[in-house]
């Protein structure tokens, strides 16, 4: 694991295996470019799914989700971008934004209790 970016609001770490990133804190229009660059570097790391651990994500806006959607769309046939342990708020946002059926994007809802 290595820290890719940390500004006190958002920390982006590269994780593997499987290759992916962990987001801690808050993603917004101001800092989402750092999420994109970390995803871009990890998507070349292997042939399988790309994982985004969002269990420690406190906030994400549409600009942040757009980065995830665009990355998922840009992946080769058969590969997925998997959002692991997504909060109810994140699932709701993906649906409200009209991105709940994007090919290549899998949202795994966090299980509580």
């Amino acid at each position: 694991m290595s820290v890719d970016y940390d500004d006190g609001v958002l920390r982006v770490e590269r994780i593997s295996p499987p290759p992916g990133i962990r987001l801690t804190g808050e993603v917004d229009l101001d800092n989402c470019a750092h999420v994109r660059s970390a995803l871009d570097s990890q998507s070349d790391a292997g042939p399988g799914d790309l994982l985004v651990d969002v269990s420690s994500l406190g906030f994400i806006d549409v600009a942040g989700v757009r980065i995830l959607v665009e990355t998922a769309r840009g992946m080769e046939q058969g590969r997925r971008l998997v959002l692991r342990r997504a909060s109810e708020d994140l699932c709701d946002l993906v649906e409200m934004a009209g991105w709940d059926r994007v090919p290549g994007l899998t949202v795994e809802r966090v299980t509580t209790g």
Binding site: D28, F59, D61, M96, G98
Partner: protein, 307 residues
Amino acid sequence: MNTATTFRHDALLYAGLDDFVKRTAGFVREGLVADEAVAVAVIQPRAGALREELAADAAHVTWIDMERVGRNPARIIPAWAQWTQEQGTRVFRGIGEPIWAGRDDAELVECRHHETLLNLAFDGVPWQLLCPYDTTTLDAGTIDAVRHSHPQVLHGAARIDHPHPEPDHFAATLLGPALPPAPDHAEHLAFRSGELAGVRALVRRVLSDVARAQTNHALLAISEIAGNSVAHGGGAGTISLWRQDSYLVCEIRDAGRVVDPLAGRHRPTPDQDGGRGLWIANQICDLVQIRSTETGTVVRLRVDVAS
């Protein structure tokens, strides 16, 4: 034959619950007899009373919970758009009651805008929408305003024709009326690109006593509008926040311009680039008021943070 060949948007002025049931049941049955799809979006007790009157026929009607959908009147057009698109080649008609006794002044202003914008949203779409107004509980000003948005007003046995709303009327929904000023206890913060985290910190401070779920909803809606200021509104904005009864009210000003009167009322498609901020604000908030001129835009959001 009463089949609409273009959008027919009628107001029905009725007097009390019994008159409502009598007039609307006739409209519903006329549609069902002609094998039209029929949807009814009204609040209680009128939904229950109409269901009872329709008896077995009620099962052939789509019932839309206007209290939930129409809490923010900007959600009503997308709900009708979705239902009408689902009907395919079938002829359809609906009853929609956006205005009821108990709506406050700010809601009534936006409900009037909604009634005007229906004519734009469904221009050329052949269906009938009947909007019931209770003359026994709504004030005279509200009843009088009906003629500005409905080309036909049905009152008793009379049918009164009025001019169709025109593009100027649609554009005017973005111009006014002016919003009442923020109260003295409002908190203000200027922000620019790179400072959205500071906007969220202010929201969290103002909502320090509020449950996390409500705070998160407010944070998302406000962030999207503040993000619009950064991306499209000249790169900066000013936020004002205050509590009002059970609501958080948030106003964001910037130098941008909104030109589409239906902004925030188009359900986003997966492939569209932008246009999600106001849509999401409308889904979360109880009221969204947009005022936009060549000198700038103000978006005022109202979110119930108690429930």
